[in-house]
Symmetry: D2
Subunit: 355 residues, 4 copies
Amino acid sequence: MAVQKLKIAVAGLGRMGKRHAYNFAHRTPRAELVAAFTPDETELTWARANLEPYGVKIYSDYDEMLKHTGLQAVVVATATSVHAEEAIKAIEKDLHVLCEKPLSVDFERSREVVEAARAKPHLKVMCGFSRRFDASYRDAAEKIEAGTIGRPVIVRSQTCDKHDKNGFFIAYAALNGGCFADMNIHDIDLALWFLGEDSRVKSVSAVGVTAVHPELQNYGDCDNGVGVVEFYGGKIAYFYNSRTMAAGQEDTTEVIGTEGKIVVNGNPQKNHVNTYTPRGVTRELPFDYWGRFEYAFVNESNEFTECVLENKRVPLKLNNALIALQIGLWMQEAFNTGLKLYFDENGRRIDKPKL
Amino acid sequence: MAVQKLKIAVAGLGRMGKRHAYNFAHRTPRAELVAAFTPDETELTWARANLEPYGVKIYSDYDEMLKHTGLQAVVVATATSVHAEEAIKAIEKDLHVLCEKPLSVDFERSREVVEAARAKPHLKVMCGFSRRFDASYRDAAEKIEAGTIGRPVIVRSQTCDKHDKNGFFIAYAALNGGCFADMNIHDIDLALWFLGEDSRVKSVSAVGVTAVHPELQNYGDCDNGVGVVEFYGGKIAYFYNSRTMAAGQEDTTEVIGTEGKIVVNGNPQKNHVNTYTPRGVTRELPFDYWGRFEYAFVNESNEFTECVLENKRVPLKLNNALIALQIGLWMQEAFNTGLKLYFDENGRRIDKPKL
Amino acid sequence: MAVQKLKIAVAGLGRMGKRHAYNFAHRTPRAELVAAFTPDETELTWARANLEPYGVKIYSDYDEMLKHTGLQAVVVATATSVHAEEAIKAIEKDLHVLCEKPLSVDFERSREVVEAARAKPHLKVMCGFSRRFDASYRDAAEKIEAGTIGRPVIVRSQTCDKHDKNGFFIAYAALNGGCFADMNIHDIDLALWFLGEDSRVKSVSAVGVTAVHPELQNYGDCDNGVGVVEFYGGKIAYFYNSRTMAAGQEDTTEVIGTEGKIVVNGNPQKNHVNTYTPRGVTRELPFDYWGRFEYAFVNESNEFTECVLENKRVPLKLNNALIALQIGLWMQEAFNTGLKLYFDENGRRIDKPKL
Amino acid sequence: MAVQKLKIAVAGLGRMGKRHAYNFAHRTPRAELVAAFTPDETELTWARANLEPYGVKIYSDYDEMLKHTGLQAVVVATATSVHAEEAIKAIEKDLHVLCEKPLSVDFERSREVVEAARAKPHLKVMCGFSRRFDASYRDAAEKIEAGTIGRPVIVRSQTCDKHDKNGFFIAYAALNGGCFADMNIHDIDLALWFLGEDSRVKSVSAVGVTAVHPELQNYGDCDNGVGVVEFYGGKIAYFYNSRTMAAGQEDTTEVIGTEGKIVVNGNPQKNHVNTYTPRGVTRELPFDYWGRFEYAFVNESNEFTECVLENKRVPLKLNNALIALQIGLWMQEAFNTGLKLYFDENGRRIDKPKL
């Protein structure tokens, strides 16, 4: 009997959309990429050359794509500004959704997605925090779960991109919600994973600089930032983000517990090569997040597919995306105002620290 | 227009055969796994459950499989003893062949495969030395090609397996030609790659011990061995193989040139995790070659496919497999006799060293 | 002509005093340890057995020791509470002083030492921040000075001790000024070194937890803390301190510039040994700061000696010790109050962030 | 009561002699450097400026120095060619001797030193294999002794110098006995340490090339060499030496046992600094053996001193130096003749391998 495959479509064929399309078309045995949508002419041309020959129907209209016969699921990988709208439309069409992070840079808009999903509990709706699918982070999580480091207390986590001298990313700054919300959201998600998803924020502070790109100040953004989140119950997460790393992608996470510590990617390296020259010993770093997390995305597509086909719970709660966004936005606010933000144990903003 | 896919079959569904089947079925966009053969009942059952649902026709007779309509290529991944026979049969049927290493443990038998292939120059026949497709080895090769280390002079390379306490591998010892021919053949191939495929052997010596498994002596084999191959023109390759590594797979290669050195996998590690406990800082190693080379095999299947479809030259000359086997067998002989073997510049065995 | 040696005395023969005594007696060619003082009976006994035979006169009264004939310099390595008093007494006796950090946990008291020294500009008075004498930190500083990483912008630095399960350190908590002032003072000093000693603080925040030792709360202290110091001119230093590391001493510093990054001790290790076992590959960490910085202290004693003998400027300005202490105390205050502290460009405390 | 110090003299004030003089004068609390000898004018000038002021009497005649009143011990650090003669003279004067390696490049001459020492069992006579005093090698030895890796079976060890483009070392090639005897003698000594000092050689083979310095062929030497020593009882040591490393000193040793492996200096590094630039992450290597082993020499001088003063057994048997030299000379012979050398279980040379 032939295997039943999940019929899935990808919306958006930019950098990440192309990769999702590739993964669902070619590296997800139980999925069949049946459709793809993009409003962009260049991307449409690419899709006709690279997806159509594999039997993928190409759409330039999202709503039309949602009507594709037999379609069961949609990957939302368009511009962040339309994630929420497209996710909600898909949900309303009774389609499973894998949405790129964030659901929206707007908290209320994100909450609408969560509520739309809640209204259709038979659907799998997942916001793709790719690091959750990375083999090293999972190994770390298993070891922590097994008690290797005692009770986790401190998380240090950073998202650091290789400096793109073209400043390509600056144009996006206004749209992506700022580096604390856009970049550190991964680290926040990891911190919640390792410190407990029920951790309640006690205070938030953040500082940032424009080391290389002063023009970011026009968008209320920085190119290097440090944020600290204190949780009730004696837990701390502190974060660093940078757009200006010289050597490559450096996404490092430390989880410090009462009896040990686990470091993920403390020694970033692109591959297994070390070069010895009169200058010393040199290793290279991944160029970007894809160089570091390519196979995490493959895991993501396969696991999402399995969860839908076998009606399993997806490995990330959708609501976590909301919480992580909230904390990211608080860091962004703390950075922008210079203020330290305080919260009571019920999550309400208060004026003074609770000692 | 639909993409044209290479119709390929896999012969043998043991450990490696299953993986080739998976890669061609699910991770090689331009290939279609149309058939699979195994004479083994357990493997047949597995194939019916795991391949048939994806449209793969299962055969228990190799010759029958070769007649599969539209079949264009065969992966030979059966027991080593039938590699040559099956490869030749496929070639005779005008099928392209990707044959697992070695072509045969018998030099003459291997040569027959090479000759069969030579007789059909329109066919792509490749012996799969997986490390040639590994990203790190390729990076090393590019850097060496670019002159980063000057002229390569010395290669140190080792193939070291995690100790399988079941001694599972002992039963194979008699069949696989011994550890110098079976394990170090990869290292020999790498040495030829880096030192020049036209390198002519000047002398060969080898020693070995049975550190843990004295029963290997019954098969003229050892569980830890060291071999040295001297080439004309002032080049040396030295090799280590071990069946008894405690921590995991450790396949390391150093290429030393007149102006620098490149090390591949000098610090083996399974993933990006370091664990800090009162014992110190610990990282884990890959369990086996698959943990280290999984994606090299994916590259291999994709590149072989592309070479066939686009009639490109395969990245490894088939004749190299013969040369590497020859050197491996010489090391095995040097180990078994205790003698150092000498060769003149034309490759003829001589009695005394040529100074 | 016989070499002229600096006649020096060590006050205090506790853990650090013993080491200074050893270094000045045996590893500082141009110094002669002529006297040592301790009020402690056990230490006196030790001194009579271990120093007296090398010609060192032992005193149980500090003032008496200061009168030792020919004495030129004193190392103050007593309990922190008497550093300032003893340093000032020595200065008043016209003796050069190498004072263990901190001058005092009290800012005003520390300032008195600085002023006493200022009044005698012919004396060398140095507060021993040992990391300034460490070969790796110096290499980092040279590379930064040479422009290797562009303009330094961010410093991350941590002082992390191996967990002493006896809780020996808790008794000291009340005396040492708290972990931000006591431990991170080294990191603050490094941050000022790398970001510029004229850096002006804009804001300070800090959070801490008692992960393992809740009893520290009685002293207004924590066992793991994170602090962030923002400087005018777009520079940030962020700090971590821990009393509860499982594996050993982990004092790590990162300096991130506009064109690169330097990491000191990102991979802590005790020595050059890696052990491969079925558990993986393990390396050990230094047990304590001595295991990491032993030779920095040797450099310190030799350079201090040279500065006195040759009337050179000591490599650390005494006033920096005051600035570092100030910042440490601000972090401590920020931790204790939960507040973020703000400063104007003239160093005056203000109520609100300056944007 | 004043401490009793060992009155010691250093013969030879070349590169290594100067360092021994410094260590005994300034870093060996229980020793007093009372005299130094060198026949070299430049070195005499240096000694008058740098040793005499510390009370060291300078001699230009070795025999005169041996008569120095109260002298108890001599460090022989002159040119290799006179090691044996000077050591024997000192022994005959009833002086303890610390002799730089090798005793002589001539086996018989070395044996005479051993015999001279044997005739005076109350004297401490030690040949300085510095790595035996290195903290990492000692840690390795302790772990091996403790059974961490099971029974040691294979040793891989290399001595690799940074390439001195001046070719300074070539002039020494004729004098030092060749790279297998001169450089790998350290590795042979380590192999005997880890595999058992009673290990009996079964076969020896070696190959070498002149990768960069063909003029070495005039001296029967090479600039990169590989040697393999097989021992009875199923043990192997294999060695690499190089004069042409690009990045710095790389002295690495692996000890592989039946249940694990220990690597010393698998990741050579000069210090704790890693530099991140667009080129990648770079660390530097020690420039030379002093950069790697400085403190091993300090341990050596202190331990030798203690052994003399307290009449303890020195940590290295003198006879081992003879055995290590013998093996080094055999490797040199095997390299020069191209032959594999065979030995019976009694150490007698035989014509054919013993299987």
